[in-house]
C-alpha cells in the first residue's frame, strides 16, 4: 500500500512536468505580458459590461470571451512571482491586477449569469485546472481566485443529478489539482474551509464533498479522486476543525465504508479454481477479476485514510467499517449456506487481512472476528469449525488461520488457544512448574523423531528402480518436465519446497547442478530467503538425507521462533503458567454445546453409524437453513454515480426464487432435482440402485446444505451401479454418509467406509470424465432453469481439476487427428464428447477388470481396513468414552451431535476448539489430501513457533504429563504413526510408492520455485483462476483445443501417458495398491486411499522433523526485550 509514496512525487512533479511544454511562448518580459493581458481584459470587459442587462448573449460574444480568457489565463499561469523572498513571494503584476479587479470572478459570474452550457463549463474547468496546475504562484491563497473557482465548482454540481458525466473527468482532475495545491499550501485548506459556509450551502467543504462520490470509481478517475481525498485527509490531519467537519458534516466515512459493502456484494460468489491445491487468493488470482480489483482498491484506500487521517476521521471510519461493512455484510457472507459461498467469503477475508497494513484497521477486523456474534457464535468459532470440513473449505479456512496466526496478535491467541490453557487444568498439578521448563537435552525432539514410522526411514532405492521409473509423477501431476498449459502451477505454498531438500535422498543420484539452484531455504513464503551460496546445502549433495533436511528445518524453526517472539515482545503477559495467574484467569468457555455449523459433524463421522451420521447432517443442514433464513441482516447497497444507497434487504426479497434460487424454500428444489435424477436414470444404461440409497439421497436433498452435491451423487449412483460414490470431489463436503452396499460389513468396517470417502477427492480421470459428462447431460436435460443453475455451479469448481484430466483423455483418444480449423470452438459438440468418454470409460474398466483377479483385489481390500481398526484400538480412552456418551444423544434423528459430549462437566479440561479441530484433522492425516496435510502441518508449525511457555509446553514438551482426558500432540501423532505403519505393512510395494511420492514432491517443490512471477507462462496468468462468469464444460475443453500448439502439447503429453502403460493416471501411479473390490471404480477408490496414505506418510515424516527442530530451537531461544514504546 504505497499510497503516500505514490502521492509524493505527484505534488511538485506534476507541476514541473506540465509547465515544461507550454512555457515556450512566455519568455517575454513581465511588462509585455502585463500589457498583453491588459489588452485582452479590456476587450473582454467590453463584452462583459455593456450587455449585462441583455438576456443571454450572442454566440460570437461567447467565442470572443473564450478566446481572450484562454490567453489571459495562460499569461497568468506562466507569470512568475515578482521577487520577494521565497517564504512570501510578491505577486506578479498580472496576478496583482487579477486580484485588484477581481477579474476571474467577473468572468465566472458572467458565464453563470448567461447560463452555463456544458461546453463552456467544460472549457472553464479545463482552464482552471491548467491555471492551478501550472501556475508558478500560489494562486489559491487569493480569494479572487478561490472564490470564482468555488462558484464554478458549485455550478458544476446539480444537487439532484450530480455531476454531468461529460464533466466528470475534468472536474476530478481539477479537484485533484486543487488538492495537490492544498497539500503544498496548508493555508489553502483553511481558506477553502472558511469561505465555505457563505457560498456553498449544506456542505461547506465543497471540494471534499465533490470528490466523495468518486471514491469507489474504477480506473484512473477513481484513482485521481482517491489520491485527492487522501491529500485532503493528510492535510487535515492536524486541523481539528476540518477533521470535525469531515466527520460530522460530510458523508465521507459512511460512503467509504458502505461503499465497500456495495463493492463486496458484487464480488463473485464463488471462486472458480483449477487445481485441487488452490486455497488462497494470490495477487495474480485477483488481478484479473475487476470487481475484486475495485474492492481491493477501495480497501487499500481505507487503509491509507486510516493511516493519514485525523484521529477523529479515523475513528469514525473504523466505526463505519465495523458497523457498516463487517457486521452487516461480511458477517452474513461468512455464514452463507452454500459451501461455495463460504469458500469465497473465507478466501476474501483472508485476502483482506493479508492486505491491511494499518494496525487500527487490523484491530477493527480482528475485533469483528473475535467478538462479533453472528447467530450466537463468534465469527472465530464459525471459522474454526470449518477446518474440519472435508473439502476446499477446509483448505481455505486453514489458510485463513495461517494468516491470523501470522499476525502474532495477543488478543487472537488468547481467544483461540491461550485462554483454554491459562487455568493450567490440562496439566497434572505436580507438573505445573514444568510448564516453563525448556527441553535442554532434546528429549522432546527425540520423541518426535522417534515417531517417524520405520517404513518411512529412507533407504537407498534398489538400483533397478532408479531407471525404470520415469518421471511419472511429474508428468501426471505437474512437475517441471510436464510444464504445459494443462497443468496449473502448484498453489500450495512453498511448504512443498521442503522437499526440494530431499532431492539427494532416496539414493537418487542427482546432477550436481540441481543443488546449486537458488532455492529459497525457507519453505514459508513470506519469510523465505534465498539459500546463501555457502549454505551446507550446496556442499552436502551426497550427505545423508536426515541431516540435510534437518539442518534446514532447524534454520526454519529458528527463524520462525525468532520472528514470532520478536513480534510477541509487547504482549501484556508471558503466559508462562504464572502470569497471568491460573487462578485469576476467567474460566474459558466450555466446549460448545451445539454448533450450527455442519462441519463439526465430520469429527464424529468416523464413529457414528450411518443413521446417526445422516441425522447429524440433516440436523446441521437444518441449522444452516434456518441461519440462512436469518440472513436478513444483509443490506442492499447500490452505488450510483453520486449516491450510495443502503437498503436493508428484506427477508421477502431474499426469498424470491428468481433472485436467489438457492435460498428458496427447499421443497421445490427437491422436486426439481428428483426430476433430474429420473431423467438421468432413464438415460443411463443400468440403474438398479438400492432404493435406500436413493431415498436417502432425496431426503438429503431437501435438507442438505449443499444439495448440489447430492444431485451429483444421486446421478452418479444411478449411472454406475457399483455404488462407489463420487461425492468427494474437492469442493464437496464429502461427509455425507455413503452406503457402500458391499462395504457394509458391520460396525468394525465403519471407519473404512469413512476412509474411503476422502480418497475419492482425487478422482481418476475416467470416472470423472463420466461424471463431467453426466453433469453436462443433466444440464442439457434438465428443464428447470433453477436447477440448471444450481447444478452447474458445483460441477464447475469440483470438476475443474478433473477437467484437465478429461482434456488429456480426450486428446489421448485422438492425438493423431489434426485439429483442423473447423473443429474449433463451435465445431465440437459436447454430445460427441460424451459418447467418446463413455466408450473410453467402458474400455478402461474392462481392461482393469481383466488385468486383476477380483479375488486378489477383494482380499486386499479386506486387509486394508486393518489400520483403522488398530487406530480405534489405540485411541485414547477418553475418546472412546466420548463415543459411548455421544451415541444415545445423536441417535435421535434430527438431533445434532455437538463436537463434545453434552453431558461433559465443565470442570473437564478443555484445550479449546482450535486445538481440538487441529488435532482431529491431524488424526485423520491418512485420509486428508496432500494439500490439506501441507496446510495443516503448516498451521501447526506456526502455532508451535509461539514462545509462550503455556503453548510451547502443551504442543512440544514430550515430558509433560497431561490430565488423562487431554490429548497431546504426541499422542495424536503416535496414532497416525501406527496407522501409517499398519498401512505400510499391508502394502508390500509401500517403499516404492513412498519413493515416488517423495520424488514427486521434490519435483513439485522445484516447480514452485522456478515458477517465479516472471516465469509464469502468460496463459496461466491472464487465465485468471477466478471468473465471475462460469464457462461451460465445453468452453473449458475448447479453450485448450482452441490453440493448436497447446492442443498438440497436451496431446503429446497424453500420448506419453498411453505409452507409459495406458492406464488411468492415478491407478497407474500406485499399480500395486490400486485394487479393491470387484469393480474398477472401487479400485480407484482404493487407489485414492493409497495415494493419500502414501503422501501422508511423506508429509508426516517431514512434519515430525519440523516439530523436533522447533522443540530444539525453543530451548535455545532468548526472549526479545519489549519495545517499550521507543519505536514508532
Amino acid at each position: 500500500m504505497s499510497w503516500l509514496s505514490r502521492l509524493n512525487p505527484r505534488g511538485p512533479g506534476t507541476r514541473t512536468g506540465r509547465h515544461a511544454a507550454p512555457s515556450s511562448p512566455c519568455t517575454a518580459d513581465p511588462e509585455t505580458c502585463l500589457m498583453v493581458f491588459e489588452n485582452h481584459w479590456r476587450q473582454v470587459s467590453g463584452v462583459l459590461k455593456p450587455r449585462e442587462s441583455s438576456v443571454g448573449g450572442y454566440a460570437d460574444d461567447l467565442t470572443a470571451v473564450r478566446n481572450h480568457t484562454d490567453q489571459m489565463l495562460c499569461l497568468l499561469a506562466e507569470e512568475s512571482p515578482a521577487g520577494g523572498d521565497i517564504e512570501s513571494p510578491a505577486m506578479g503584476p498580472i496576478l496583482e491586477m487579477v486580484v485588484a479587479e477581481n477579474i476571474l470572478d467577473e468572468l465566472v459570474q458572467w458565464h453563470l449569469r448567461r447560463g452555463l452550457d456544458p461546453d463552456s463549463q467544460l472549457e472553464l474547468l479545463k482552464l482552471f485546472e491548467m491555471l492551478i496546475g501550472q501556475s508558478h504562484q500560489p494562486l489559491l491563497l487569493h480569494s479572487a481566485v478561490l472564490q470564482p473557482l468555488l462558484s464554478l465548482l458549485g455550478a458544476c454540481v446539480d444537487p439532484q443529478l450530480g455531476c454531468p458525466a461529460a464533466l466528470e473527468s475534468s472536474l476530478v482532475l481539477l479537484l485533484n489539482q486543487v488538492c495537490v495545491c492544498m497539500a503544498k499550501e496548508t493555508a489553502v485548506l483553511e481558506l477553502i474551509f472558511r469561505c465555505g459556509p457563505v457560498q456553498q450551502g449544506p456542505t461547506n467543504l465543497l471540494i471534499f464533498s465533490l470528490l466523495v462520490p468518486f471514491i469507489h470509481r474504477d480506473g484512473s478517475l477513481g484513482q485521481q479522486a482517491r489520491d485527492a481525498l487522501l491529500l485532503v485527509m493528510a492535510t487535515s490531519a492536524s486541523s481539528h476543525a476540518v477533521a470535525r467537519h469531515i466527520a460530522e458534516n460530510s458523508y465521507f466515512c459512511p460512503v467509504l465504508a458502505t461503499g465497500l459493502s456495495g463493492l463486496y456484494s458484487s464480488l463473485p460468489r464463488k471462486i472458480e479454481v483449477r487445481g485441487d491445491d488452490w486455497h488462497t487468493l494470490r495477487r495474480e488470482d485477483w488481478m484479473g477479476v475487476s470487481s475484486l480489483v475495485l474492492f481491493m482498491n477501495s480497501l487499500e484506500f481505507c487503509n491509507a485514510v486510516v493511516q493519514v487521517a485525523h484521529p477523529l476521521v479515523r475513528c469514525q471510519l473504523l466505526d463505519y467499517l465495523h458497523n457498516g461493512f463487517l457486521v452487516p455484510v461480511m458477517g452474513p457472507a461468512l455464514h452463507k449456506s452454500s459451501v461455495d459461498e463460504m469458500i469465497a467469503s473465507t478466501a476474501y477475508l483472508d485476502l483482506f487481512l493479508r492486505s491491511i497494513t494499518e494496525t487500527s484497521l487490523l484491530k477493527t477486523f480482528l475485533r469483528f472476528i473475535l467478538l462479533h456474534r453472528h447467530d450466537n457464535d463468534t465469527i472465530l468459532d464459525t471459522l474454526l469449525t470449518r477446518i474440519s470440513s472435508n473439502s476446499r473449505l477446509c483448505m481455505v479456512s486453514l489458510s485463513l488461520f495461517k494468516t491470523l496466526l501470522s499476525l502474532n496478535c495477543e488478543d487472537l491467541m488468547l481467544q483461540l488457544v491461550l485462554r483454554y490453557l491459562l487455568p493450567c487444568t490440562h496439566v497434572m498439578l505436580s507438573q505445573r512448574r514444568a510448564v516453563r521448563e525448556t527441553d535442554l537435552y532434546g528429549k522432546s525432539a527425540d520423541k518426535f523423531l522417534s515417531l517417524i514410522p520405520e517404513c518411512c526411514r529412507i533407504t537407498a532405492a534398489p538400483s533397478s528402480e532408479r531407471d525404470d521409473e520415469p518421471a511419472f509423477w511429474g508428468k501426471v501431476l505437474g512437475s517441471p518436465t510436464s510444464e504445459s498449459p494443462v497443468h496449473p502451477r502448484p498453489n500450495t505454498p512453498s511448504r512443498l519446497a521442503l522437499f526440494i531438500r530431499q532431492q539427494s535422498s532416496g539414493g537418487q543420484a542427482n546432477p550436481p547442478s540441481s543443488g546449486s539452484e537458488n532455492a529459497p531455504s525457507s519453505p514459508r513464503g513470506s519469510i523465505s530467503s534465498p539459500l546463501s551460496p555457502d549454505s551446507p546445502m550446496h556442499q552436502l549433495q551426497d550427505a545423508s538425507e536426515g541431516e540435510t533436511g534437518y539442518l534446514e528445518y532447524l534454520r526454519d524453526a529458528r527463524k520462525g521462533i525468532e520472528l514470532c517472539s520478536w513480534a510477541c515482545r509487547d504482549w501484556s503477559a508471558p503466559y508462562d503458567g504464572e502470569n497471568p495467574s491460573p487462578n485469576s484467569a476467567l474460566p474459558p468457555p466450555p466446549p460448545p454445546m451445539s454448533n450450527p455449523s455442519l462441519s463439526m459433524v465430520q469429527e464424529h463421522f468416523s464413529i457414528m453409524d450411518p443413521a446417526q451420521q445422516r441425522a447429524a447432517v440433516v440436523a446441521a443442514a437444518r441449522a444452516e437453513w434456518s441461519s440462512s433464513d436469518r440472513d436478513s441482516g444483509e443490506w442492499d447497497v447500490t452505488i450510483s454515480k453520486n449516491c450510495i444507497s443502503l437498503t436493508p434487504r428484506s427477508k421477502k426479497r431474499s426469498l424470491l426464487p428468481s433472485s436467489i434460487p438457492l435460498q428458496s424454500s427447499s421443497a421445490p428444489v427437491s422436486t426439481e432435482i428428483t426430476g433430474a435424477v429420473e431423467t438421468v436414470s432413464q438415460h443411463s444404461h443400468s440403474a438398479p440402485h438400492p432404493p435406500l440409497y436413493n431415498g436417502m439421497g432425496q431426503v438429503e436433498l431437501t435438507d442438505s446444505v449443499d444439495e448440489r452435491m447430492e444431485v451429483k451423487k444421486v446421478k452418479r449412483d444411478s449411472d454406475v451401479n457399483n455404488s462407489v460414490v463420487e461425492s468427494g470431489m474437492n469442493g464437496s463436503m464429502g461427509m455425507c454418509p455413503v452406503d457402500y452396499n458391499d462395504f457394509h460389513v458391520g460396525s468394525a468396517m465403519k471407519s473404512s467406509q469413512v476412509q474411503v470417502m476422502p480418497h475419492l477427492q482425487h478422482q481418476t480421470s475416467v470416472p470423472s470424465s463420466t461424471h463431467e459428462c453426466l453433469q453436462s447431460e443433466s444440464q442439457r436435460l434438465s428443464p428447470v432453469p433453477a436447477l440448471t443453475e444450481t447444478s452447474t455451479v458445483p460441477h464447475e469448481s469440483r470438476g475443474l481439476e478433473s477437467v484437465e484430466r478429461l482434456i488429456e483423455e480426450l486428446l489421448e483418444r485422438a492425438p493423431s487427428e489434426p485439429l483442423s480449423g473447423d473443429s474449433k470452438y463451435q465445431g465440437i459438440s459436447i454430445e460427441a464428447f460424451h459418447q467418446e468418454l463413455r466408450e473410453l470409460e467402458e474400455r478402461v474398466r474392462e481392461r482393469r477388470v481383466l488385468s486383476r483377479s477380483s479375488e486378489e483385489s477383494s482380499r486386499e481390500f479386506h486387509t486394508a481396513p486393518a489400520p483403522s481398526l488398530t487406530d480405534e484400538d489405540c485411541l485414547p480412552v477418553e475418546t472412546e468414552q466420548r463415543f459411548s456418551e455421544t451415541k444415545p444423544d445423536s441417535s435421535a434423528p434430527g438431533v445434532f451431535s455437538p463436537a463434545r459430549p453434552l453431558g461433559q462437566p465443565l470442570a473437564q479440561p478443555y484445550t479449546g476448539p482450535f486445538i481440538t479441530v487441529l488435532f482431529n484433522k491431524l488424526e485423520s492425516m491418512m485420509q486428508n489430501s496432500l494439500y490439506v496435510n501441507i496446510l495443516l502441518t503448516g498451521v501447526v508449525f506456526q502455532l508451535a513457533c509461539y514462545p509462550q511457555p503455556l503453548l510451547r509446553s502443551f504442543l512440544l514438551n514430550a515430558n509433560m504429563v497431561f490430565q488423562p482426558s487431554v490429548k497431546s500432540l504426541i499422542q495424536v501423532l503416535g496414532s497416525v504413526k501406527n496407522r501409517i505403519e499398519a498401512f505400510a505393512a499391508a502394502h508390500e510395494d509401500f517403499p516404492a510408492m513412498l519413493r515416488k511420492a517423495r520424488r514427486f514432491l521434490v519435483a513439485r517443490g522445484k516447480l514452485d520455485w522456478s515458477d517465479s512471477p516472471m516465469g509464469v507462462p502468460n496463459l496461466r496468468r491472464s487465465d485468471s483462476l477466478i471468473k465471475s462468469r462460469k464457462p461451460s464444460l465445453g468452453d473449458l475443453i475448447l479453450r485448450h483445443t482452441n490453440s493448436p500448439t497447446r492442443a498438440r502439447h497436451a496431446a503429446q503429453l497424453a500420448l506419453a501417458h498411453v505409452r507409459d502403460g495406458g492406464q488411468s493416471l492415478h491407478s497407474a501411479l500406485f499399480r500395486g495398491g490400486a485394487a479393491s473390490g470387484a469393480s474398477g471404480l472401487e479400485k480407484q477408490a482404493e487407489a485414492l486411499r493409497v495415494k493419500n496414505a502414501v503422501y501422508c506418510a511423506v508429509i508426516f515424516s517431514e512434519f515430525l522433523k519440523e516439530l523436533a527442530a522447533l522443540a530444539q530451537e525453543h530451548a535455545v531461544a532468548l526472549p526479545f526485550p519489549p519495545s517499550q514504546g521507543t519505536e514508532e
Binding site: Y441, P580, T1126
Partner: protein, 307 residues
C-alpha cells in the same frame, strides 16, 4: 568433505551473525566488556560434530540404528547451546563465557573478582565439556594461568570442580552452576582436600604469606592479560589495551542503553536485535490490545483522541 562442509557452515553462520549484530569484529575487540545477551551469542560451530563424534554425519545414517543416530550430533550441540542460553539468562556477575569456534565442547571464559582476597583479579579460563554431555562427567575448568588457590592445581591450573559435582546429573546440574562455583571459590575459601596443599598450609598457618602469595598471583594473572589467547581460536577471549577508536563507541552505547533500560539482560539495544528476516516484507508486530493483568481481548483502553 566433512571438513569442507563444516568450515563453510561456520562461514555462513558467522556472516549471518555479523549482519544480525552489526559487526562482530567490534565485539571481539572490546575486551573489557565481553558479551551481553544474545547479541553476542556466537554461533556454535558445526564442526563440533565431526570433531567430537567418531561417526561423521554421512556415515551415521548408514549405521544400523537407523535415522536416529544421525540426529545425535544435533542433540549434543543443542544441549550445549541450551546450556549457554541458560548461562546468559542467569546473568552471573563478573563471569563471561564464549563457546569456541572450533568446538562446542570448549568454552572460553573470564572471571572478574570484585572484592575479597582476590580483588581485581581477572582470571581467564577454559571450560572443557565431556563429549557425552550431559551423561558424562562434570565439565572441567582450567585457568590459563594457575591461580594460587587451594582448589586450583598449581601446575595445570585445573579447578577442582568434582568436589561440587560429584556426579553430574542431567536436568539438575548445569554449566552455569559450574561457572558460579568457579566464582564462589574466590570469595569463600575451602581448604578441604586441596589440590594445592601448599596454599592450604599457608592459609592455615601463615595467612599473611598466603595473602601476599594471592596478591602476587593476581598480579601475575593480570600481567598476562594482554597475552595472545592460549588456544588459537577466533572466538577465544582476547584483551587489548584501551583504544578509544575501537572501544569508546561500544562503551557509550552500552552505558547509554543501560541507563535507559535497567534490565542488564536486555542491554542489547533492541534495534540491533531484529529477527533474522526482519527486513523481508511487512512484519506486523507487537499486536496486543490486552490490558496487562486482564485476559480479555481488546481490554486495553484506546489511546484518547488528541483534541
Amino acid at each position: 568433505m566433512n571438513t569442507f562442509w563444516s568450515m563453510s557452515t561456520n562461514a555462513g553462520r558467522k556472516r549471518s551473525d555479523g549482519e544480525e549484530q552489526g559487526g562482530p569484529g567490534e565485539q571481539r575487540s572490546s575486551p573489557t566488556h565481553p558479551p551481553f545477551g544474545k547479541k553476542q551469542l556466537p554461533s556454535i560451530p558445526k564442526n563440533a560434530v565431526p570433531i567430537t563424534k567418531a561417526a561423521s554425519p554421512a556415515s551415521s545414517t548408514e549405521s544400523a540404528n537407523g535415522t536416529h543416530a544421525s540426529y545425535g550430533p544435533f542433540y549434543l550441540e543443542y544441549s550445549l547451546l541450551a546450556e549457554f542460553t541458560l548461562v546468559i539468562k542467569q546473568r552471573l556477575p563478573g563471569i563471561y563465557v564464549q563457546p569456541s569456534y572450533r568446538s562446542t565442547l570448549m568454552w572460553f571464559g573470564v572471571i572478574f573478582i570484585r572484592h575479597g582476597l582476590y580483588q581485581d583479579g581477572v582470571f581467564k579460563f577454559t571450560v572443557y565439556i565431556p563429549d557425552n554431555f550431559p551423561d558424562g562427567d562434570c565439565p572441567r575448568v582450567i585457568f590459563d594461568t594457575p591461580v594460587f588457590h587451594p582448589l586450583v592445581d598449581s601446575v595445570s591450573g585445573e579447578l577442582d570442580v568434582r568436589r561440587a559435582f560429584t556426579k553430574w546429573r542431567r536436568n539438575h546440574n548445569h554449566i552455569w552452576q559450574v561457572l558460579m562455583y568457579a566464582r564462589t571459590i574466590f570469595y569463600k575459601i575451602n581448604t578441604m582436600d586441596p589440590l594445592n596443599p601448599e596454599a592450604v598450609v599457608l592459609y592455615d598457618k601463615d595467612f599473611q604469606l598466603f595473602k601476599s602469595k594471592v596478591v602476587d598471583s593476581v598480579k601475575l594473572c593480570n600481567s598476562h592479560l594482554f597475552d595472545q589467547p592460549k588456544i588459537d581460536d577466533p572466538f577465544a577471549i582476547s584483551f587489548s589495551p584501551w583504544n578509544p577508536a575501537v572501544h569508546e563507541e561500544a562503551k557509550d552505547k552500552m552505558f547509554a542503553y543501560k541507563r535507559l533500560h535497567s534490565d542488564p539482560l536486555l542491554t542489547t539495544p533492541h534495534n540491533q536485535r531484529w529477527p533474522e528476516d526482519y527486513n523481508k516484507g511487512p512484519l506486523v508486530s507487537g499486536l496486543s490490545w490486552v490490558k496487562p493483568g486482564s485476559t480479555q481481548p481488546f481490554s486495553k483502553e484506546d489511546i484518547p483522541l488528541q483534541t
